[in-house]
């Protein structure tokens, strides 16, 4: 095998984007995965890039930049990844939710994002099949949907045009480090690859790769599960989520919804989208089950129950299957996009939990800037790996 400027590990939404952006900068890049492209979390997720589920500040800033980049890439790439800026509705069940949502939307609007409140009447006009007792919601017109695995293939195929070399079904056995602990290469089951720079984009598997370089990466697998309906007439036009979803995502313990014990137990929050193939994707459940990504019947029931609360007509539509995937969870809900001081030449771009698809383009762009030693688009000090090293002390 030969030598590369940079080796990217992991061919999911993050790794393929990082590889593409590095190729764009003129680096000679290899992309390695133990399976195929989009074999892991990136093909077992939902399909949206939203800013309306982000915390104000850096999180939203990155989301918005990423969506803008998606739009640019959709126009530029010859590989179609089904980008569709259909907008997102965050719906509120109660007055108190509506109040919290208003405060949130106002804050985001002040920061310059296109986010506004809609009342019950407008909600009913925009989504006639929604339950009639909802108070209103947040409308974010810029939020988008796309095919998550096609995103991975699009980045890979476009990067190949720029010289990317892809090694699929290639297992890493050892990371070769020099005298100063610097990266020298990777031993794989397909031979040794020499490189001075490794980007660990292995998502939930990033800790395994980290161990080979002698570092502990605090990413845990968090299961996410969705239901898929039979093909059906259109009953939903935008991405819709319940405001409680945000609470679920960020584990706000002060927030309590009026839900059944089953929905409560499985921490299910309603979200729905209509796919290009006329199926409905209904979510969602998040839970810690290690790497066990099998479906759970109780979670399925809870998702269906919550779905019918917001879309009563779902009771007449059949569910044909469910699927689950593992998301790379980080305790502070921010990804790690960073170099690693202890191991010169070792970088991490992982830990996006449910935002990997959304943040794929911007993560790739920023990581390429970090590798090139350029000034990054945002201040990403909050995303530094060293934030965990300090915790250890």
């Amino acid at each position: 095998m030969k030598a590369y400027d940079v080796v990217v590990i992991g061919a999911g939404a993050i790794g393929t984007s990082v590889a593409y952006h590095l190729c764009e900068k003129g680096y000679e890049v290899a992309l390695i995965d133990h399976g195929d492209i989009a074999n892991g979390s990136s093909s077992h997720c939902d399909a949206v890039a939203l800013i309306c589920d982000k915390q104000p500040g850096l999180d939203t800033q990155m989301g918005a930049a990423s969506i803008a980049l998606y739009k640019e890439l959709a126009a530029k790439f010859s590989y179609d990844f089904e980008f569709d800026q259909k907008g997102c509705l965050y719906v509120c069940e109660t007055e108190s939710e509506y109040e919290a949502a208003s405060a949130y939307a106002n804050r985001q609007a002040q920061d310059g994002y296109d986010m506004s409140m809609v009342d019950a009447k407008t909600l009913a006009e925009m989504e006639p099949y929604l339950a009639k007792d909802l108070i209103g919601g947040i409308w974010t017109p810029g939020d988008a949907a796309m095919s998550p695995y096609k995103v991975c293939f699009a980045f890979t195929e476009e990067a190949k045009k720029l010289g990317l070399k892809v090694y699929t079904y290639c297992s890493i056995q050892k990371i070769l480090l020099g005298e100063k602990n610097q990266v020298e290469g990777i031993e794989t089951d397909q031979g040794t690859i020499y490189t001075k720079k490794i980007i660990n984009c292995a998502g939930v598997w990033a800790p395994d790769v980290g161990k080979m370089a002698g570092i502990e990466i605090p990413i845990q697998p968090r299961k996410g599960m969705n239901l898929i309906s039979e093909k059906t007439k259109r009953i939903v036009w935008h991405k819709i989520l319940e405001f409680g979803y945000m609470m679920s995502k960020f584990d706000d313990i002060n927030f309590k919804r009026n839900v059944s014990p089953l929905v409560e137990e499985y921490n299910v929050a309603f979200n729905i989208e209509y796919t290009n193939d006329s199926n409905i994707l209904l979510g969602g459940y998040r839970g810690f089950r290690g790497f066990d990504a099998r479906s759970e019947i109780e979670a399925m029931k809870a998702i269906a129950e919550r779905g019918m609360r917001f879309f009563p007509c779902l009771k007449d539509i059949n569910c044909i299957r469910s699927y689950a995937g593992v998301r790379p969870f980080v305790v502070d809900h921010l990804p790690i996009v960073s170099d690693v001081e202890a191991v010169p030449g070792f970088y991490i771009a992982a830990g996006h939990e449910g935002d990997g698809i959304c943040l794929s383009p911007i993560t790739g762009k920023i990581m390429a800037q970090v590798v090139a030693g350029e000034k990054t688009e945002f201040d990403i000090s909050k995303l530094k790996f060293s934030r965990f090293e300090k915790n250890v002390l």
Partner: protein
């Protein structure tokens, strides 16, 4: 959550026999079936069975079905009908869409100590132009219509396939008052027993060997009105210029069966491909246990054979499940299972049976190779 010792999927001969044996041993058994009546395919088998007297040769399938139902009832086996198992989940959870009185359905989860999958088989299709038109169906479906529902599938039937199903169903269609206008077979030789073929030939059914259906033509409502057949060459390709048009309003396809394996697939059971048994099947050991502990298979779901073999395999699975729950003493269970395996050997004789006997040995050997020794045997051998 409802808890059961043994949950059996499918109330055909395998499932019923498994239920009877497990229940006799004292297990709390529930059988789930999506049909309106238990018995699987037995009730459409109005013909007498072949085989030894130990296997009720000379008895009609439907009568065997009645005997099994009575035995199940006497032993207190609970059966849910019009209920579909929609999934098997981690922790031995069985999700059921349970049929209620008023045609309503309810999703119920059952915690099962042991699961026996006896889901049977489904018919293979043959694709030709017009194969989705109304009037084209599986031979098994046609048989259900005449023998169970008492509805003629059509007036003039073209049967495709000369295996035993094709031959027997052709005869039964005639008994039901249909006109079998052609029996079409691509191979140069009749697939089933000569005695069945002779019977329908005597009844005047034209048999087209080395022929296949190339098109079903529909009328103004799209229902089948004509069937185009043609001779095939040695590579089973239609020979142009040999087409014949036959007036018919029904095509019955008897092209074999394949095991119904969705549930064992869901559980990630170890699989193998076996052409004799009809395709991909879950591996099992002599307890009928799959590679997933506590999950058993029996009958066509683990290799297409016949009702008698399904019944016997069901018995083994039922006994083994009860044994693993310590409801039967090991010695008694082993003796019972050994006796059944001997009976199964007798059933797997003759020109059709021998292939299955050796195929079964291959499956059992592959299990040992891939999965290992069954737990019970390890215990016995200390």
């Amino acid at each position: 959550m409802i808890e059961k010792d043994v949950v059996i999927v499918g109330a055909g001969p395998a499932g019923l026999a498994a239920g009877i044996e497990a229940s006799k041993a004292g297990a709390n058994v529930l059988i789930i079936d999506l049909n309106i009546k238990p018995g699987g395919q037995l009730f459409k088998q109005i013909h007498k069975f072949f085989g030894s007297s130990a296997h009720r040769s000379g008895t009609r399938g439907m009568d065997i079905g009645m005997l099994l139902l009575r035995e199940a009832e006497e032993n207190g086996v609970e059966i849910w009908l019009k209920s579909t198992v929609i999934g098997l989940f981690p922790g031995n959870k069985v999700a059921v869409e349970k049929g209620l009185e008023n045609e309503a359905k309810e999703v119920v989860t059952i915690l099962a100590k042991k699961i026996i999958v006896a889901t049977g088989a489904s018919e293979n299709v043959v694709r030709f132009k017009g194969w989705t038109k109304p009037g084209v169906m599986g031979a098994g479906a046609a048989q259900t219509m005449i023998n169970v529902n008492h509805v003629k599938p059509g007036e003039k039937v073209v049967m495709l396939g000369s295996g035993n199903v094709g031959l027997i169903v052709s005869y039964q269609l005639m008994q039901a008052g249909c006109d079998v206008v052609a029996l079409v077979e691509a191979a140069p030789k009749i697939g089933g027993y000569a005695v069945h073929a002779a019977k329908i030939r005597r009844a005047g059914v034209p048999i087209y060997m080395k022929h296949t259906i190339i098109e079903a033509i529909g009328d103004e409502t799209d229902c089948v009105k004509e069937v185009v057949i043609a001779e095939v060459d040695d590579k089973f390709q239609p020979i142009s210029g040999t087409e014949k048009v036959i007036e018919a309003d029904c095509v019955a396809i008897a092209a074999g069966l394949k095991p119904t394996v969705e549930l064992t697939r869901l559980l990630n059971c170890e699989f193998t491909f076996n052409g004799v048994f009809g395709g991909f099947i879950p591996l099992h050991n002599k307890n009928m246990e799959t590679s997933v502990e506590g999950v058993y298979v029996a009958g066509d779901a683990t290799g297409v054979e016949e009702a008698n073999t399904a019944l016997e395999e069901g018995r083994i699975a039922g006994i083994a499940a009860a044994q693993s729950l310590s409801l039967i003493a090991d010695k008694e269970a082993e003796e019972k299972k050994d006796a059944i395996w001997k009976r199964l050997e007798m059933l797997r004789l003759g020109p059709f049976g021998e292939r299955r006997l050796s195929a079964k040995e291959v499956v059992l050997a592959e299990y040992l190779n891939k999965v290992g020794m069954p737990q019970a045997e390890i215990k016995l051998k200390g």
